[in-house]
């Protein structure tokens, strides 16, 4: 791995974790904690994305250990982002937002078993309350847990994909040129083999 990519990973992990401050400022029910993972995958490929996701979970676990079991979700997000980058889904918001919505479904399907069996769906206040709402609507415990995860992940991943697309398009040409995969992700040029 090149030194540039080695320097990129800690920055991307910090992006994953520091965006919570901006989310708090605007008061939206979002996490944006996979932004750095998706961005590095689009910039530098799946290995860097997976390392970013795993390191995010490890570092976040030092603040809140309940994040560690969700490391698998970060890896799935990185793999999906690689697919999205390869297909040029970051070309525009029209392609990025539906791709993000699909990731929201995938993430909620994969996070539900972890949330249900490890945490009893009590991972965050928002998820616990929407799970309770699902129970009140007559869903089974597992169904209510999926309902809670789905409501939190669906919008979050769509906004994350839209944000990453905006960032990729706003990258200065000199910076983008150092990450040839970024150009392919936004459909400007094919990456060299």
């Amino acid at each position: 791995m090149s030194v540039r990519l080695l320097a990129l990973i800690p920055v991307a992990v910090a992006i994953n974790l520091a965006l919570s401050a901006t989310v708090d400022a605007v008061g939206l029910p979002l996490f944006l904690d996979t932004t750095g993972t998706i961005l590095t995958t689009a910039l530098a490929g799946p290995v860097v994305g997976i390392l970013t996701g795993a390191l995010t979970s490890a570092v976040n676990s030092l603040r809140n250990p309940t994040f560690w079991p969700f490391v698998a979700i970060q890896i799935i997000v990185a793999l999906y982002a690689w697919l999205a980058a390869s297909r040029g889904w970051f070309r525009s918001l029209r392609t990025a937002v539906p791709a993000g919505l699909l990731l929201g479904v995938i993430a909620s399907v994969t996070s539900t078993p972890i949330s249900y069996f490890v945490f009893g769906c009590s991972t965050t206040g928002g998820i616990a309350l929407t799970t309770k709402l699902g129970q009140l609507l007559g869903l089974s415990n597992l169904g209510a847990c999926f309902f809670g995860s789905f409501l939190s992940d669906f919008g979050d991943k769509a906004v994350t994909f839209a944000l990453v697309t905006t960032i990729l398009h706003a990258l200065p040409r000199r910076t983008a040129a150092r990450f040839p995969l970024a150009l392919r992700a936004i459909g400007r040029a094919a990456a060299s083999p």
Binding site: R4, I15, A58, S61, N64, P65, S122, L171
Partner: protein, 222 residues
């Protein structure tokens, strides 16, 4: 306790939650939580009562939400397991400085790039978090509305997140140059300044913990 090798502290913090989930609830998890609480409260083994309070405050919301969703019967086993996990990790973070863990990783022959990733991330996170807060303040001073309808908030989010991420990416080149200057290339080895002592008894303890978890897991699923 503080003098134990970082890998031993890590093994203890990982083994206790693993056992909490492997052993039958609620007594198994109650036992592991007792051990984790003992680590938190033992004089000289933990930074003090503040750490125990941090663990208790972190675990409290889970108990509340578990009660809300599953009642008392469902709350107790999961609550005990989650509390073990939280207490173990809060204890680990309080007792093990990251720099000491990095020294142990380098001394154990891990690639210096892995040690760098870990330590650089721990430094980068608070720095970027602080910058994010400064950006929020600066944009608000310029009249950015962060409250209102969803579209207003999303526009504000873009105005806050974009400069933060772009400025962070801009630093990557500077960091890469600094790393190259310091000779951080593939296969590079470093000599740790103060490698933690790793006694045979501690190595045996780590193996014992790993084998116990594996054996109990097999016993539970058999």
């Amino acid at each position: 306790m503080r003098r134990l090798h970082p890998f031993t502290l890590l093994a203890l913090a990982v083994a206790l939650p693993a056992l909490a989930w492997i052993l039958p609830a609620p007594w198994g998890a109650a036992g592991t939580l007792t051990l984790a609480a003992a680590l938190l409260l033992t004089p000289g083994a933990s930074p003090g009562i503040t750490t125990a309070k941090t663990a208790a405050l972190s675990a409290a919301p889970f108990w509340f939400f578990l009660y809300l969703l599953h009642g008392v019967g469902g709350m107790v086993p999961t609550g005990l397991r989650l509390s073990t996990m939280i207490a173990s990790f809060v204890w680990l973070v309080a007792i093990l400085p990251p720099a000491r863990l990095v020294e142990a990783m380098v001394a154990a022959g891990w690639p210096v790039s892995v040690a760098f990733l870990f330590s650089a991330t721990l430094q980068a996170v608070p720095a970027l978090h602080e910058r994010a807060q400064r950006l929020v303040d600066a944009q608000r001073c310029r009249g950015l509305a962060t409250r209102g309808g969803p579209l207003v908030r999303l526009r504000a989010l873009r105005a806050l997140a974009l400069p933060l991420v772009l400025s962070a990416l801009h630093e990557v080149d500077e960091r890469a140059l600094a790393l190259e200057t310091r000779g951080l290339v593939a296969g590079a080895r470093r000599t740790p300044l103060a490698p933690p002592a790793d006694h045979r008894a501690e190595q045996a303890l780590r193996w014992l913990l790993a084998l116990s978890c594996a054996a109990l897991f097999v016993w539970r699923i058999a």
